[in-house]
Symmetry: C3
Subunit: 177 residues, 3 copies
């Protein structure tokens, strides 16, 4: 029914704000974690976020790549929080590279649109979290520049489809749409 | 008559928003590209942007350095879009280095003021696009830190002179002034 | 009595805006510089900022680490400007490392709360300046990632305690709270 995008920098409070909003909406709630378990630093972040959701009516699905499929396969939860689109793009980039290809902006745009359309067809609300990564110095590394372009494209596409868009800064949400 | 500054991160949608605004204003329109043709990655970006302007009443001028001069030499176009100031600063920095000198903030400020005054004397509207590059981690590289300072100084100077200032995030313009 | 947080990117105009606001408030005024004197680049920045405050009723205290103590020891100034929290976090990180430990988010949160409570107990206004460093590409360097997390946590904690929060972009303040 309704789609929200919550974006912000690293440690801006975007995930906490998204979780708060989701907990004000109907249960049962599904948390879709796009973060792959690849190193102890990531594991620590995952664990801390899990603890923050404990006992608040959340189910968790870990899915680094097929987000639209998760939304289709799990029709029963009233509220879905996907955290975050930017790691999803990073995962899709790595998958494409491992297959000898490269992810381009058109593909990112198409996948993001598909995700948003699937989300909009659900009964309840879907909240997407994403990262802003394009406001620093141009990275030296070409792969980092490509990632920045793809993440920005994903954000633009999701924001165009969303009913509400927030930029979180210092823990404070600024409504953009 | 009127001067607008449109800023945002990389792939934030700032150029598309600027182009859209310009296309709602009077033709003929001049697009001033500050991007030097130096590598295939840049060429690809230039080509894609050119295709997006095709058939919409645009003339293009490529000028990496002398922006105020372009505004003086081309009085006939009603609407001018300069994309972008941040590459202009980068080009000026390289020019100064090649001449054995260094660009400082006072010089950037003076050049930006001169540009804005020249723009304000035109009949039609001038839209300036710039990049926000100062919201990441402090770069290790001293040249990148200097560039960040110069680009920020240019943005502040242009914003002070502009009648309208927008920050674009996820394709959504946020009016600052 | 009142606590303000002013944040923004590098060269966004946040320090100038903070100084302007402070100069509209009651004198005598105390400027607390957290910047350690470690290299000529920093010395240049410090010197320029000092010159901008000259003759405007400012006292200066240089304190890289014990900010709450400065607020306690200097009860007489009506207005206090602390510039900036992000360097303070960086200084605390280095201090912890030199002692063989590591600063964590809980500690940053506790120290920031203590600072804000001490500030709120003063008669006059305290203005805190901080940097936004989390809106670029994830840094390769683990120490830079940790710093980004700690700086973000400090900003969130200070914003939650502050009566007013501004994000400065291109020299223009955007009120968040």
């Amino acid at each position: 029914m309704a789609l929200a995008l919550i974006t912000g920098g690293s440690r801006s409070g975007k995930s906490a704000f998204a979780q708060q909003r989701a907990e004000a909406l109907a249960a049962p709630r599904l948390f879709v974690a796009t973060c792959p378990r690849i190193d102890p630093e990531m594991d620590g972040r995952i664990l801390r976020h899990q603890q923050e959701r404990q006992g608040k009516g959340w189910q968790t699905a870990e899915e680094p790549l097929r987000l639209a499929e998760v939304l289709c396969c799990r029709p029963d939860e009233e509220t879905v929080l996907i955290d975050c689109l930017t790691l999803w793009i990073s995962n899709l980039m790595h998958e494409a590279e491992q297959q000898g290809g490269a992810l381009d902006e058109e593909h990112v745009s198409a996948l993001t649109k598909e995700l948003c359309q699937t989300a909009s067809r659900r009964r309840g609300q879907v909240i997407l979290v994403s990262n802003e990564v394009g406001l620093g110095i141009v990275p030296d590394n070409p792969a980092a520049r490509r990632f920045r372009d793809l993440a920005g494209r994903c954000n633009q596409t999701a924001a165009a489809a969303a009913d509400e868009v927030f930029l979180v800064c210092c823990g404070i949400p600024l409504r953009l749409k």
